[in-house]
Structures are given as structure tokens and as C-alpha cells.
């Protein structure tokens, strides 16, 4: 398949990258996103210092950050795509792949592990028909592991969207996702 992939030479790639950046890329981000990003920029000494906020802003509008969005943000912040990619991929809550409407963050760190998060995860997976890292076919949920949500005293815990669920039991999972048909069923 690689036979057919046209790859432009360095110079051209550089040029076309730059040209695309200059003409098209700003149009990728919405007015609202740009305004919010600019507000963050005004608070920091370097444009690139607003990188994390910019990523969060775009993610809050779109649910995740696509390659195209990332290049547009990088251009707007006057940094290279690779530099911004380094930041975006460093944080596991910046999503570089599409996620469902709600993200389930299931803690698997020490306290929650002691309190049986493994069984909880099995239960969630069973209810929703998805494994860690997967999204339900109806696009409602994406299930992700997370290392400590800072509520260890209420372990095991998980977040569904913006809501924190404490002392979670299998029963609670059943109640929460009981109405969900599960994957493929």
C-alpha cells in the first residue's frame, strides 16, 4: 500500500505546511474557541504558555482534539505541531482520539485497587460491552482507567462525565448503567 502514498519532498512539505497554516488553519477553529484562547494568551508571558488551556478549550467544544485542530492551535500559539503534540499526549485527559459523550474514569490506583476496582471494571465492561479504552457503539460512553482521582478515602471511585461516584459497588454500577443495552446486544 505504501507504493501509492505521495510524500512531498522536504522543502515542499515545509512550504505546503506553512502555506496551509497561513491560509487554512485559522479557519479550523471557531470564533468562540479563538476568543477563549486569546483570553488565556493575554494572561501569560509567552503565547505557547497557554497551550494546555487552549487544548482544554478546544476539547470542551469538540470532545477531543483532532490532528487538524492540534495543528491549528499550534499555529495560533506560534509553536510547532510536534511541541504541542508533546504537551497534548503528556496529559491523559487531553483526548487525541474521539471519545463518547461521557468519559468514565475508573480509578485503578492503590486505594481503589485494594478496594476491588478490578471487579468493578469487569462489571462496567460487562454492562457496557466495552473494554478499557473503548467507546460504546452508541457513542454514549468511553471507558478509561485513571491513576487516582484524589478521593482515596472514598475508594473505590470513578467519574462519569463530570460526576464523581464514591464508594462504588457493583450494585451501584448496575444501577448506573443498567439501562444501557451493552455492546452488540
Amino acid at each position: 500500500m505504501s507504493d501509492l502514498i505521495p510524500i512531498v519532498s522536504v522543502a515542499e512539505a515545509a512550504l505546503s505546511e506553512e502555506k496551509a497554516a497561513l491560509s487554512g488553519l485559522n479557519a479550523v477553529l471557531s470564533e468562540a474557541e479563538l476568543t477563549a484562547i486569546d483570553r488565556e494568551i493575554s494572561h501569560v508571558p509567552y503565547r505557547s504558555a497557554a497551550a494546555i488551556d487552549a487544548l482544554k478549550i478546544v476539547q470542551s467544544h469538540r470532545g477531543w482534539v483532532s490532528d487538524e485542530n492540534l495543528r491549528a492551535i499550534a499555529h495560533h500559539l506560534e509553536m510547532s505541531a510536534a511541541e504541542l503534540e508533546g504537551i497534548a499526549t503528556f496529559y491523559n485527559l487531553i483526548f487525541r482520539r474521539p471519545v463518547g459523550n461521557k468519559v468514565i474514569l475508573l480509578c485503578n490506583s492503590i486505594s481503589c485497587w485494594i478496594k476491588g476496582c478490578d471487579n468493578l471494571q469487569k462489571k462496567v465492561s460487562e454492562q457496557l460491552g466495552v473494554d478499557l479504552g473503548q467507546t460504546t457503539p452508541d457513542n454514549r460512553y468511553t471507558l478509561l482507567p485513571v491513576t487516582c482521582l484524589g478521593a482515596c478515602d472514598k475508594a473505590p471511585v470513578m467519574m462519569v462525565g463530570d460526576d464523581l461516584h464514591e464508594d462504588v459497588t457493583e450494585q451501584a454500577v448496575q444501577t448506573l448503567f443498567g439501562d444501557h443495552g451493552g455492546g452488540g446486544e
Partner: protein
């Protein structure tokens, strides 16, 4: 000097160093990964752990990182204690958790720092039972292979690529055990210095693509000390050969020339050595205009007959050795020898030499360039003309950071801390150029000006520094002048750079003025001037300042003064328009050409002689700082190829010329040249002569593990041929001899027991990161800073942009603007087609967009009609339009050396118009992508 105790033994060490450096300098083996002598410490890998004790009573001690621990008087350490050793073993074990078991198929194998360190710490058994992580590799271009699974996350690559070399397209991605070093997406690495990743990465993540596809282990490479012929910088290299092919080029450390790093033109640009187009046998043109191969006896007889009657002119070459040029000059006579520059270039190179000789300023080497605390570049795009200097300038702007660090008493090796402290504060670097340059990102300011205005700017700065401001500059320029003056005058080690690159003698002269004015104020200013080719400066030194040029030779030939022309390693069609060179060659009855390459000039020869390349012959080259350096043959030339000096010497012997009667060896020529040309008297000091023996034996080109016998020649004969004997140098084509404690110029490879990778270099250094034990290679010929000053200089009149007229200004490209890089397969893929650069407003005026065609015609200036004939086609070129808004007003940039620009000359006035019927290029496939697409085949 502090005294420290290591494992009960007291050592005196240099203050201000860290313990790792101190240990390595003492010859103690302490493993490490993330520390690099040129990049300092960050303490990331935890490999250099040692135990430090509070005092003599302390028995427990604590683990500290050697690379992060300053040596202090009385400090007590243990390297070999169980605790330290156990810790280091555990670190390697943890690094190996995800490391594949693929040494046998890894191109790094046999010269891998990770292998060495693993053996050194004694790690053997794997205890972890989990699965290994695997990664998808990226396509990084035709030069560099990516195999991410081998990464041990030492962060050296991004620290080098981003922090040291200023690249922006390689980053550390993701976190935890997913960390990935790569680009945002597949694509060619953009930095001109990306190739150093191969040597910086301690594992096989980044490897040399051409080596990977045509593989030989380091221990089977035959190598010799060599010098890069890519530009005039003269970087020291180690080409490695097997079966007649240069498999790869590694850096050869020279503290004053290239340190630890090369540019990609130099590293990947030696492929031409085994190019199919190279000549193998002498070729004599027959009546049908084709060539008959003849043997070397016939060739020499022919040469003898052609040269014996006198009436011979010679054209030398700025890319050939001093010795070959000297012999040709001797053969044809001083007044009949042209150095081989184009007529436009000759006065520029001569001026560079004069300015350096006359200047009161110092001509800096690379370490002094890195020490500059304020820099002004006039007109030169160094990244594309003398790339290694640009990399050094990226370090010089960090002197501000080191100043800030000194205030806080941070040691210079505290890399992470110092970068954090300084953020983007840099020492001043000002650039005046015809358009943007790749150094702009670290520049305080870059101003786009036409060459004449660059000269005026320089002149005004010089006047300002001397305290006699002249007020004829436009307002915005005047402001720049004030700022630059303040920066330079306030500096302790100001540096002025320029070069032949923008084609203007006025710019060069102005640079000389600025440096001299600074010296006038009692500051030890530096002046660095770039010339284009490996031996450009050598040619200027050899021929002095009024040697005949090409045009003069042609006139004299036309008037019947000459019959025969001998051309030495020079493609003249790069030095003038086709018409001019046709005319030049046509003025002679016979043209003898010595060259390795089949180019337009060799194809016009009556007799073409196959010359050995730099990798097959001895030679002295003189770099832009006036350093004479010696390169040695890496392997013996094949077929009837001979070094040019051998052809010329044999020819003159055949002619029974008196001058060569006592010349038998290469060294004799060097000595004769030094004796005849006062300016070159110092070249004999560049390297020891062929009598030199290292403790009584030669220095081996092969490692002691070299696999001598192979089946490679079995189809020819099962008998092994004898190893060739090297009559011309102290090196041997053999694994026998002593590669230790030799003079710096004679280092054929680095290896030490337990240190198979290039990190073994420190065993050859007097102290870690410092000069070689055997002394720095090369001899400086220019006495720096003793001139009387460059004399007065009148700035040119302001440049006036005229509607419908442009001044052509040169724009260099690291790949393709020189003669040789385009001939190496990897680089050839990155060479672009020729182009013309104009600003957006001009493009609109001409009705073109990016990628359209532009016709360049001779420009008719008001009043003057110089060179323009009405009624005939005045077209000079038709090239692709590039839009670049940073072009100086009224200037059009042209791509030097790339296809289609033969007829364009720097600074010529031209007219432009849209080309009708121009085919826009579609994105092209480049060869290597076809076999190795994204994440494709790997070794």
C-alpha cells in the same frame, strides 16, 4: 584543585566539573546515558549512580547521581561499592524491560552504548515477566531510520535536536512507559543537523538509512581520518568503507573545528564516492565523439605529448587538494594557472583572504565562535553555506544564559537548570540578509536588505563604533544601526560574520570594517568569513591575489597563446553560463580533464582521466579559518583511478621536468609546496609524514575484530589478494598496529576496551570533552589579529528598486547548492528544482502564484543596455516561482547550484515575466518512500 576520594583512593580533579566527568577523565569507568559532553547533565537516566559519604565516619552513605554532583574538596565517593553497583544494575534492568532482544538485526549492534553499559554493569538475567511495549515507527525521510522500540528514554535526542540544534519537529510525546520520540506525523526531519541523532542516541532508535540497507558492522568498517569536502568548514570525518563502498560517515572529534557534530550535507553527502557515474578508466575521445578506454601508460603518453610543447594552461579546483593544485600550477606555470573560481567568485575569495590577513580581528575557531557574546551576520546564510558555524552560533546566543547562571553560581553543565533560568533570553544576534535565514528564530532581529544596503548598514555600524557616525541612512535603518552598535560595543567578545554567499565584495568589506572598528576600541573582536568550497581559501593562498581568471585564459587561448588546457577536478559548467564555458573550452585545441565524476566538463574533454576521490587519496585542504588539514585514503582506488597528484606527478616525470625530479612521495609534494609558496609554508605541520610510526608500528585502519576473509571475491578467485601497502601515510590497510596515543590527525576510529560505541572517544581525549590527547588536528596558516586594518572603504550608493527590474540575489540550499551533495542518493531525494523567490506584492504584479513559472531575462536598466541585445532572445532561465515575503524590496532570490540556474549571476539586474504554458509540479514520490512507507520495513 579539589581532591576527592574514590573507593579509598585520592585524586586531584578539576574544579567546576561534575563527578561523572571527573571519573571519566581519570579513566574510571562509570556508566551513563543521558549526560553528553557537549550538552551537559540533566540527571534523567539515573545510570551514573555512586555512593557519597558525608565524612570518614559515615558508613552508609547515600546514592547520588555522578553527573549532577559537583566535585568538592574532600568529598568521598564509592563507585564500586555493592550499593552503587546494585543500583546501576537495577537501572539497566529496568531500561531493558521494554528493550527488544534484537541486537543481531540492529544497525547499532557492535557500537551500541546500551550494549556497552549493560555489559559494564553486569546485568544478565531478566526478572520481569510482563510483555514488552511496542511502538509504531515513523517515516523520518530518506536519511534516518526510526525504530522506537529500542528507546531507553534518556531524552538525549530531543535535548540535542530541540535544545542544541533548534529543531522544532521532533519531540518527546506521551508519558510514563508510553513515551515516544518522534514527529507530530510521518515526514522528513527538517533540521539540517538531524543526522547527529545517529551518534547522540545511545541505542539503535535512530540509525543511518543507507547503512541499514547496505549493512556492515563497525568492526568490519575500514576507516581513516578524513575531512569533509561539503563546504569550507573542513569538519573532521571518519568515513567507513567495506567492499569499495563508503558505508557511512561518522564525526571525527576536533575540538576547534566541529566538536561532536556534523551537518547533514557532510554526514550523508559522501555517496558520490561510489556513484555509478564515476570514471573508471582514462577515456580518449575518438572521431565519433565517443570515448575509448585506454590504459594508464597510453594516457600518460598522451598527456606528455599534449603538454611537452608548452603552450599549456591549467585550471585548478577549489575542491581539490593543495598538492594536486600545486602540481598543476607547476606543470603549466604560475602565470598560466587559474585557481578555478568563476569570474564572479574569484575577487570575492581573494578579498576574504585579504580581509583576514589585514584584519586586526581574530579569525575564530568553533570554540571561540561559541564564546561570542554578541554577533552580527552580514549577508551570509550560514546554515546553508557553512552549516557547522550556524550550529555553533546557536550555542553562542546561550552566553546570556551562562551569564545568568554564573550569577547564581550554577555550574555550566547544569543544563536543565540553566535552560529553565534563561527561558528565551539570548545574547544579541543580528542578521542583515537578502531574506529570511534558518537562524532567524534565535536572532534578536533580522533585517532584509539588498546587498548594497547591507554594506551601507555595516559601514554605518563601523562608523558609529568608531565614534564618527555618518548620518546618511534612512530613519528605520539608522535605528537598527544604533541598536546593533550598542550590542556589539557592549560585548566582550563580539563576532562579525559574512561571506561570499551574497556575491558582494562591498558586503565583505563592510564586515571587515565593523570588526576592525571594534578592535580599534580595544575589544578582541572576531571576524569570520565563509567561502564556498573545501579548499577555496587554499586556492587563494596558493595563487595570491592576481591569478588569471577563466575569461583571461580564454582570451589568451583565443589569441593563440595556448593549445592545451588541463582542468583539475572542476566542473566548469558550474562556473559560468554554458555559452561562456563552451567558448572557453573551444578556444583550446585539446582539453585534458582529471576528475572523478562524469560531468559536462569531463564529457567535453579530449582526454578524461579518472581521479580518485577524497576518500581514496591523500590531500591537504585549507578551511575557511585557514586551517590546513590532511585527509587520508580510506581505501585504495579501484580500476585505473589514481589520485590527481599521482597523475600529474607521473606526467611531469614522463616529461622529465626538473621540478619534480626529487619528488617521490606525496609528502615531498607537500614539502615542495610549502617551500615554494610562503603563504603555505605551514602546511607540513598539518599532519605527520609517511615515515611516522606510533611506538614503532603503523596505525591500523581496521579494528582488531575485522573479518578478513569473506566470500565476496569468490566469483573472481578463491585466493585472497594481498592487503595493499600504504606507501604514502603512517596508516596501514590492516588490523595490525597501534590505535592509541597517536597525534590527533591520525585517528582512524575510536574504540577502547569495554567501549565499543563512539562514546569511547573520551579515552582519546586529554580530559572528557576536551582536545585529543595527541593534539588538535590541523595547522592554522593565518596569523590571527596581527594585520594593520583593512584600510578605508567607501560604501556603495543606496540600492534603488526600479519598477519592472529586480536584482538577482543568491539563495543557497544545504542540499544541492554545492556540487557534490546532489550526487549522493539520500540527499539527492531532498534536492529541490531551481526556483526564483519574490515577495507577494511582486508576485501579484507579475500575475503569478506559488508554483507558477517565471521567465528571467536580462534586465534593461535605464540608460545602460549592458549585455542586452535587442532582437535576440535574452532569456536567462525559466524557473518555478516561490513567494517569500521576507525578500528585500527590489530583489529576486535564485537557488544557487540547483537545476536551471546556470545562466544566472549574483547581483545581475533582470526582468521577470510570467511563463506561459508552464507545467506546475505535482507532489512527487521520492524513491525511498516507495520501499519504506510509513512504519515500513526496518532493520
Amino acid at each position: 584543585m579539589p581532591v576527592i576520594q574514590v573507593d579509598g583512593q585520592e585524586y586531584e580533579v578539576e574544579a567546576g566539573k561534575n563527578l561523572l566527568e571527573a571519573c571519566l577523565s581519570l579513566g574510571l569507568d562509570l556508566p551513563y546515558f543521558c549526560w553528553h559532553p557537549a550538552m551537559g547533565s540533566i540527571g534523567a537516566c539515573r545510570q551514573c549512580a555512586v555512593v557519597q559519604y558525608l565524612n570518614a565516619e559515615d558508613e552508609r552513605g547515600r546514592i547520588v547521581m555522578g553527573c549532577m554532583t559537583p566535585v568538592t574538596d574532600g568529598a568521598i565517593f564509592s563507585l564500586s561499592g555493592d550499593k552503587a553497583r546494585g543500583f546501576r544494575q537495577a537501572i539497566v534492568e529496568s531500561l531493558m524491560l521494554n528493550h527488544p532482544h534484537d541486537c543481531p538485526v540492529c544497525a547499532e549492534g557492535g557500537e551500541c552504548h546500551l550494549q556497552d553499559m549493560t555489559v559494564m554493569v553486569g546485568h544478565r538475567d531478566r526478572h520481569y515477566r510482563g510483555r514488552k511495549n511496542t511502538h509504531r515507527n515513523q517515516y523520518l525521510g530518506p536519511l534516518i531510520n526510526h525504530e522506537m522500540n529500542r528507546c531507553i528514554t534518556c531524552y538525549r535526542c530531543t535535548r540535542y535536536y530541540r535544545d542544541y540544534a533548534g529543531g522544532t519537529d521532533l519531540a518527546a510525546l506521551a508519558s510514563r512507559d508510553h513515551v515516544y520520540f518522534g514527529r507530530h506525523s510521518d515526514g522528513v526531519l527538517q533540521s539540517e543537523f538531524a543526522g547527529n541523532l545517529l551518534e547522540v542516541c545511545p541505542t539503535g532508535v535512530f540509525t543511518d538509512k543507507s547503512l541499514v540497507h547496505n549493512y556492515t558492522r563497525k568492526w568490519d568498517l575500514q576507516s581513516a581520518p578524513s575531512v569533509c569536502v561539503g563546504c569550507a568548514m573542513g569538519c573532521n570525518t571518519l568515513p567507513g568503507e567495506r567492499y569499495g563502498k563508503i558505508k557511512r560517515v561518522h564525526n571525527r572529534f576536533n575540538a576547534e573545528v566541529n566538536g561532536y557534530f556534523l551537518c547533514d550535507r557532510g554526514r550523508f553527502g559522501a555517496g558520490f564516492v561510489h556513484d555509478e557515474r564515476r570514471l573508471q578508466y582514462p577515456g580518449l575521445r575518438n572521431n565519433d565523439g565517443r570515448y575509448d578506454a585506454i590504459n594508464h601508460h597510453e594516457a600518460l603518453q598522451y598527456m606528455d605529448r599534449a603538454c611537452a610543447p608548452g603552450k599549456v594552461a591549467g585550471i585548478g579546483s577549489p575542491r581539490a587538494s593543495v598538492e594536486a593544485n600545486f602540481l598543476l600550477r607547476t606543470l603549466v606555470g604560475e602565470e598560466n594557472f587559474a585557481p578555478g573560481f568563476s569570474d564572479a567568485e574569484q575577487p570575492l575569495v581573494e578579498l576574504v583572504l585579504r580581509l583576514q590577513q589585514d584584519s586586526r580581528a581574530l579569525v575564530p575557531d568553533i570554540t571561540t565562535i561559541e564564546s561570542a557574546d554578541a554577533v552580527l551576520i552580514l549577508g551570509e546564510d550560514l546554515t546553508n553555506t557553512a552549516p557547522r558555524i550556524a550550529l555553533a552560533l546557536r550555542q553562542s546566543v546561550r552566553n546570556k544564559a551562562y551569564e545568568m547562571a554564573a550569577e547564581l553560581r550554577l555550574e555550566t553543565w547544569q543544563d536543565g537548570a540553566i535552560r529553565n533560568l534563561a527561558q528565551d533570553q539570548r545574547s544579541p544576534l543580528y542578521i542583515a540578509a537578502v531574506a529570511d535565514t534558518p537562524l532567524d528564530d534565535v536572532a534578536t532581529n533580522r533585517i532584509s536588505l539588498a546587498p548594497d544596503d547591507i554594506a551601507r548598514l555595516g559601514n554605518a555600524i563601523a562608523a558609529n563604533i568608531a565614534g564618527q557616525p555618518n548620518a546618511d541612512l534612512e530613519q528605520p535603518l539608522q535605528e537598527q544601526v544604533e541598536m546593533i552598535t550598542t550590542a556589539l560595543a557592549g560585548a566582550q567578545r563580539p563576532l562579525v560574520l559574512s561571506g561570499t554567499g551574497c556575491g558582494s565584495t562591498a558586503v565583505l568589506a563592510a564586515a571587515g570594517q565593523v570588526a576592525d572598528a571594534l578592535c580599534g576600541n580595544g575589544v578582541p573582536a572576531m571576524l569570520c568569513l565563509a567561502v564556498p568550497e573545501a579548499n577555496s581559501l587554499g586556492q587563494a593562498l596558493l595563487t595570491g591575489c592576481d591569478a588569471p581568471g577563466l575569461a583571461q585564459l580564454q582570451q589568451r587561448a583565443a589569441s593563440g597563446e595556448f593549445d592545451t588546457l588541463v582542468v583539475l577536478e572542476n566542473d566548469l559548467y558550474r562556473r559560468g553560463s554554458s555559452a561562456q564555458i563552451d567558448q572557453l573550452l573551444g578556444a583550446f585545441q585539446q582539453v585534458l580533464v582529471l576528475d572523478g565524476l562524469d560531468n559536462q566538463t569531463t564529457s567535453s574533454a579530449t582526454l578524461a582521466l579518472p581521479a580518485a576521490s577524497f576518500a581514496e587519496s591523500n590531500g591537504t585542504l585549507i578551511s575557511l579559518e585557514g586551517r590546513a588539514q590532511h585527509h587520508y585514503p580510506v581505501f585504495q582506488p579501484h580500476a585505473e583511478r589514481r589520485p590527481s597528484w599521482t597523475w600529474l606527478l607521473a606526467c611531469m616525470k614522463e616529461m622529465q621536468r626538473e621540478e619534480v625530479r626529487s619528488l617521490h612521495h606525496f609528502d615531498d609534494i607537500t614539502r615542495a609546496c610549502a617551500a615554494t609558496i610562503p603563504a603555505l609554508a605551514g602546511i607540513t605541520a598539518a599532519a605527520p609524514d609517511h615515515h611516522f610510526r606510533n611506538a614503532g608500528v603503523r596505525i591500523p585502519r581496521q579494528t582488531h575484530r575485522y573479518s578478513g576473509r569473506t566470500a565476496m571475491r569468490a566469483d573472481i578467485s578463491v585466493h585472497e589478494p594481498r592487503q595493499p601497502v600504504d606507501e604514502e601515510s603512517p596508516l596501514a590497510f590492516s588490523m595490525e598496529g597501534l590505535n592509541r596515543d597517536q597525534p590527533g590527525a591520525l585517528l582512524p576510529y575510536v574504540w577502547a576496551p569495554g567501549w565499543n560505541s563512539n562514546q569511547s572517544l573520551h579515552k582519546f581525549q586529554a580530559e572528557v570533552g576536551g582536545p585529543l590527547k595527541g593534539g588538535t588536528a590541523g595547522a592554522r596558516l593565518l596569523q590571527s589579529g596581527i594585520g594593520a586594518g583593512p584600510g578605508t572603504f567607501t560604501a556603495p550608493a543606496p540600492f534603488k528598486a526600479e519598477p519592472g527590474r529586480w536584482q538577482l540575489v543568491p539563495r543557497q540550499r544545504i542540499f544541492g547548492s554545492d556540487e557534490l551533495s546532489a550526487l549522493s542518493p539520500g540527499l539527492a531525494e531532498l534536492v529541490q528544482p531551481g526556483f526564483i523567490e519574490i515577495c507577494a506584492a511582486d508576485a501579484q504584479l507579475l500575475g503569478v502564484t506559488e508554483g507558477d513559472g517565471l521567465v528571467v531575462t536580462k534586465g534593461i536598466t535605464k540608460g545602460a543596455t549592458e549585455g542586452v541585445t535587442t532582437g535576440v532572445d535574452n532569456t536567462l532561465a525559466t524557473l518555478e516561482a516561490r513567494i517569500n515575503d521576507s525578500m528585500a524590496v527590489g530583489c529576486a532570490g535564485f537557488s544557487v547550484g540547483l537545476a536551471g540556474v546556470q545562466n544566472l549571476r549574483p547581483l545581475a539586474p533582470v526582468s521577470l515575466r510570467r511563463a506561459e504554458g508552464w507545467q506546475r509540479r505535482s507532489p512527487e514520490l521520492i524513491g525511498s518512500d516507495r520501499d519504506a512507507g510509513p512504519g515500513g520495513t526496518h532493520v
